[in-house]
């Protein structure tokens, strides 16, 4: 295309529109979390982090996210292998269905889990409760809700990679006498490791930040089932400067983790110079 003055003017105009729009909508917002958190200096932030409720909320969030990610990683790799490497009736339906959790409102997710796993009225929850296993208003419910909302993330990263690498190397390994476990460990896993890593980082970020679904299934009792996001909501709605700072401090940590996760993914992505 000829590099005319008009062309350059349009390029500049679009560039400025995009930068302005993103600054207004996103950059300013993220900067504000930090500004609000440290508005009163460092002391109130440290006070906030010393509160047992805050420590408990982050511990609970981390452990629920950890288990959700472990479950989703194993399930995700398994489903991806099945979807890409095998044919079976209902494969297309399953392929579409695994995306469903990303399109469903967290509130609907919470309601759905309560209807099945509530100890009082749930389809399966009543028998589970009689067996001494409480799901709703307890950590297992939080793990279920978290696993539900982040379920497709690993699959959506691994499936394209598996499709791309094909089966030649795997078949070669098999023909040379490797067992299926050896083939997976030596050939498949190293080939999908980056895709898998992004999926895991994304799942972790999504899991730590889940709010709506967890709010319904956990009950949000401080020191028992209150996760970090629930703590942010509760503290913000209480009066007093320290409560507000505590809410912002927890929000700041959550935002920091989210941004770090994105930076890790963006910088690790192989061949990122390709689009330049």
């Amino acid at each position: 295309m000829p590099d005319t003055a008009a062309h350059r003017a349009i390029t500049w105009a679009l560039r400025l529109i995009v930068i302005g729009y993103l600054s207004f909508l996103v950059i300013w917002l993220v900067a504000l979390v930090a500004a609000k958190t440290f508005a009163g200096g460092l002391a109130p932030v440290i006070n906030a982090l010393r509160q047992p409720e805050v420590i408990f909320a982050f511990e609970l969030t981390l452990s629920a996210a950890f288990w959700a990610v472990v479950i989703n990683t194993i399930f995700g790799v398994g489903i991806s292998l099945l979807l890409v490497r095998y044919t079976f009736p209902g494969r297309r339906a399953l392929n579409a269905m695994v995306d469903l959790p990303l399109s469903i409102s967290p509130v609907v997710v919470g309601l759905a889990l309560v209807l099945v796993y509530s100890g009082r009225t749930g389809w399966l929850g009543q028998s589970l409760e009689q067996a001494g296993f409480q799901v709703i208003y307890a950590p297992p419910g939080i793990i279920l809700a978290t696993a539900f909302v982040s379920l497709p993330l690993v699959i959506r990263e691994v499936v394209p990679v598996l499709t791309e690498i094909g089966t030649e190397q795997e078949q070669a390994a098999r023909s040379l006498g490797a067992s299926s476990l050896q083939t997976f460990g030596r050939i498949t896993l190293p080939a999908i490791r980056w895709g898998l890593l992004y999926g895991v980082v994304l799942s972790l970020a999504r899991s730590l930040g889940e709010f709506g679904a967890v709010k319904i299934v956990s009950g949000g009792v401080a020191m028992r089932t209150q996760t970090a996001t629930l703590l942010v909501e509760e503290r913000y709605q209480q009066f007093g400067l320290q409560n507000s700072i505590t809410a912002y401090t927890a929000a700041f940590i959550l935002a920091l983790i989210a941004v770090l996760a994105l930076i890790i993914i963006t910088s690790l992505r192989p061949g990122k110079g390709a689009s330049q």
Binding site: P2, V18, I79, Y86, V107, L115, F148, E233, A251, A258
Partner: protein, 296 residues
């Protein structure tokens, strides 16, 4: 969905992942000739995976539909057409349509600039695009409130108004169209545009007749996802919209208050609508990707 031209590289945004990744593999899955039929071990694996998927996703979602039908058809209809629910649904769909329209324009412009323009700091914008996806929604709500609420540095107070609902939707849906359009734009061959230009087409004509038709399926996928995300949004609105019935109460907040009031059948009725919309979106995306695959 890839930000890079390399298909191996996945994108940071999972929303994007759904469309891009999903689109790509979906268009290949039915053609995968190397796929084999199930062996006993993989069959067992499929059984375990399906059991878990059913316990986690399918049975609970079915429970929502069953619960919604608990009171019979008339109770279902009454729950949906109660003035408060109707107002919530209208607000949600109206704002979601509005936000999706803005995203169709802005998302395409952003994707265009990210692909075709070169400037310092572009890499930073790549990260910024995905922030709405990774940032916990309650954190988004908290800062949206401090930016546009009673103590706004802009001197506005949009808390508890419909503007707040619009802004929250606009924030959480930002990545979708950008991340669906970007890879298509990357793979678009500029020679075609140059040919059009050399044949005397103006820039606008080239864009309208050459570029836009190639981007249309990606824009449609992104718009569907963006709409779906908007109508299901909850976390960023809890603090910001005030959740005033008939005024700023959206569908998911309506469901939440029904659950808290222990009106599970009512909650499930509204939830069933959101669920059906999500299903329609999933099926639409599948159809779009198949169409694209056929012409590719």
């Amino acid at each position: 969905m890839t930000v890079d031209s390399q298909q191996l590289a996945p994108a940071p945004a999972a929303g994007a992942v759904t469309t891009g990744g999903g689109r790509r593999d979906r268009q290949r899955l039915p053609r995968a000739k190397r796929a084999t039929s199930l062996t006993p071990i993989s069959g067992l694996g499929l059984g375990i995976a399906l059991t878990w998927f059913s316990l986690l996703v399918l049975i609970p979602l079915t429970a929502v539909l069953v619960q919604a039908s608990m009171g019979g058809w008339s109770a279902y209809w009454d729950a949906l057409t109660s003035p408060q629910t109707l107002a919530a649904l209208k607000l949600t769909v109206g704002q979601a349509v509005l936000v999706t329209a803005v995203n169709i324009v802005m998302g395409t412009v952003i994707a265009w600039v990210l692909v075709r323009d070169q400037f310092a700091g572009k890499q930073l914008l790549e990260v910024v695009i995905d922030i709405p996806f990774a940032l916990p929604t309650i954190v988004a709500g908290l800062v949206l409130l401090s930016l546009y609420g009673p103590s706004s540095p802009l001197g506005v107070n949009w808390a508890n108004t419909r503007v707040a609902v619009f802004l929250a939707f606009l924030f959480v849906t930002l990545p979708f169209i950008v991340r669906t359009v970007q890879p298509v734009l990357l793979e678009l061959e500029q020679e075609v545009e140059e040919a059009a230009a050399s044949l005397g087409a103006s820039r606008l004509t080239t864009f309208r007749l050459v570029i836009l038709p190639s981007l249309a399926p990606a824009i449609a996928s992104g718009a569907a996802l963006s709409f779906c995300r908007a109508i299901s949004e909850y976390g960023s609105l809890v603090l910001l919209s005030g959740n005033l019935p008939y005024s700023t109460e959206v569908a998911s907040v309506r469901i939440m208050s029904s659950i808290e009031g222990d009106h599970l059948t009512e909650a499930a009725a509204v939830a069933s609508i959101l669920l059906v919309v999500a299903l329609i979106v999933i099926i639409t995306l599948d159809l779009i990707s198949r169409r694209v695959a056929r012409y590719a």
